[in-house]
Amino acid sequence: MSGSFALRVHKALADPHLGPRLGALSVQLRHRRAAAFASLPDHEALRDRARAAKLETLRDLPGHLERFEARLRDNGAHVHWADTAAAANQIVVDIATGNHATLVAKSKSMVSEETHLNTALERAGVTVVETDLGEYIVQLAGDTPSHIVAPIIHMSRAEVGRVMHERLQTPMTDDPATLGRYARERLRDVFLTADIGISGANFGVAETGTLCLVTNEGNGRMVTTLPRIHIVLMGVEKLIPTLADLDVFLKLLPRSATGQKLTAYSTLVNGPRRAGEACGPDQLHVILLDNGRSAIMASGSAEILGCIRCGACMNVCPVYTTIGGHAYGDTYPGPVGAVLTPGLRGLEAWADLPSASSLCGACRDVCPVRLDIPRMLLDLRHRSAPTQAPGWLRVAMRAFGLVVARPVAYRVVSRLARLALRAGARDGWIRRAPGPASAWTSSRDLRAPSARSFQSAWQQRRTARAQVKR
């Protein structure tokens, strides 16, 4: 473990509240998810269908994107393509300035976190307000989300109260209902006066050009209907082939994310306001972002693009629930982030993330799309380890490779290693091991290797028995 990841982990572990808070979240969400899935009799078959739909999309992503774009244009939307985060932000800024917009209301969108859209808009003189409660607090605190579904899981109620008190001069309280009311009072004006609403999309249906948003707070619906311009920023991988597929995903996503059978709002957007319609935006812009996704498509981690951002893998991950989202250092934390971030940002600088997993497989088991995250982590390790693993590990692996297929040499080396370790043991245990193994003995004793191997004990037993028989 090197550099900044180690520092972030150190910081996370030094926070006495983080671990227990994440542990409690994990237990609660796991139970809720299990109960919600239990109410869905054919859920394993649905997961198979979801996986098949996502893999079908990825098998011909350009084709699905072409269909999607054509349907969007038929529906009256403007379609923009962005290769990079900067290009996507520029498109948004151009729409804003071209329409003399000064206020943007945003609903929750991870992809806008990925592009740092708020910073770009503010630099262009446009005020942005996050309207998802969690994201609103994150914005007030000048923080970043630490979970893709529960952005402020790292904060306590008291901390939320303090942030609102300091930034909005509200009376100090830690009562969630009161804090929610304070936020609602302030956001109401934003919804009513914003020139532009910006949202992400949970799904884009290629067959119909439908954009689907899955939300709980109602802010998503305000953002997509009240302002005169609605901008959707979405990654190119968010497509699914058909509306029938959407039915499958709407059953799986809320159950996986929050343990709900259905979220409070499932919003389907099929274009801007049409003649005679009472509400909806005059303009609908859809920005399709690549930003490294094509590179992931061409790598061994292409499957990760099937992720529907439910966050279930985080809730069950023993590493995520120990170090929290900020330790992952980028937009997407947890198991999915450990694959996605090196893909989007480059493996060389982010090789610590795939290495920080015990490969326990809980993420694979819980994933509604059955993404084989451990397999992808192994692939990333395979691509980075030979050049980036710590020196001691590379030396050890070279030595291991030299002896593992030579049983005599292997036995000699194992024997020497046993002897060396035993030299530091007392009563059969090692309290302080040397070198890299000291990371082990910092918290646990190391059982001393046995004076004699199992094979030697076995051979002795065999000889003794043969003598008895004779």
């Binding site: 120990t322 015990s358 497989g361 809980a362 692996m397 297929a405 193994a437 990371a439 004990a457």
Partner: protein, 242 residues
């Protein structure tokens, strides 16, 4: 019935008594146990650390050694069994010569608890032991091989053994092989959580089917001065049969 014991490197170097317990249990079932003495290590440490070429050297060698033997191959470790049963084949996806050989060896491999619980001789054993036990389902056993009912069934068969319910039993203990050294601080926190859940059960023994997890759990139990004993399933079963 002849069986080959793939004893695993951890049992060979750290816990020969577990290997002997495995042998005794298998013999009680009527198996004629053979130990291929040329075996070394399945290569899992290299595989998990991303050194796939090194892992392939170990895999080819292990396949070669085991091909020369006959009968079922019993492996007293969920993660080593998962390595031989699933990952060997994955290492040779693009290798038409080795893939079928990996598959043929994998077809003969059985994790210890699965082998024992399905053995026709198991029903006629009369294991008995007074003990309270917490069972830790190791990750590669539970999620890699899908084996959970089998070890629990074995424990349930032992007369007078009380198996305590453990919260978050399916959570990783923080071992993860080299993970426990490369990310020792994260691993330690995961281990602490697990130990708290183990302690809360009030059980006197902690049983698992993986030596790696047991070294990790046992090392922490010893460090904190806990009286809980970490044991391999083979050890408690062997003890209950004597």
């Amino acid at each position: 019935m002849q069986v080959q014991l793939f004893h695993t490197c951890l049992i060979n170097d750290f816990a020969p008594e577990v290997g002997l317990a495995v042998v005794r249990v298998l013999e009680r079932l009527g198996c004629q146990v053979e130990v291929p003495l040329a075996q070394t290590c399945c290569g899992q440490p290299a595989f998990n650390a991303g050194f796939q070429n090194v892992a392939r050297v170990a895999a080819r060698y292990t396949i070669d050694v085991l091909e020369r033997t006959e009968g079922a191959i019993v492996i007293p470790s969920g993660s080593c069994a998962d390595m031989l049963i699933h990952q060997f084949e994955a290492l040779f996806t693009d290798d038409d010569a080795w893939r079928p050989r990996a598959r043929a060896v994998a077809a003969r491999c059985h994790e210890f608890s699965a082998f024992v619980s399905r053995h026709p001789g198991f029903a006629s054993l009369a294991p008995r032991l007074e003990a309270t036990v917490a069972y830790h389902p190791s990750c590669h056993l539970l999620r890699g091989l899908g084996i959970d009912d089998e070890p629990r069934a074995i424990l349930a068969t032992i007369q007078d053994v009380q198996v305590a319910r453990m919260d978050q039993a399916e959570d990783c203990c923080g071992f993860g092989g080299l993970f426990s050294v490369k990310h020792g601080d994260i691993s330690s926190r995961m281990l602490d959580r697990k130990i708290a859940d183990v302690t809360a059960t009030g059980a006197a023994r902690l049983v698992s089917c993986d030596m790696g997890c047991l070294l990790n759990l046992g090392g922490r139990l010893r460090r904190i001065g806990s009286p809980v004993v970490a044991q391999h399933l083979a050890e408690i079963l062997d003890e209950s049969l004597t």
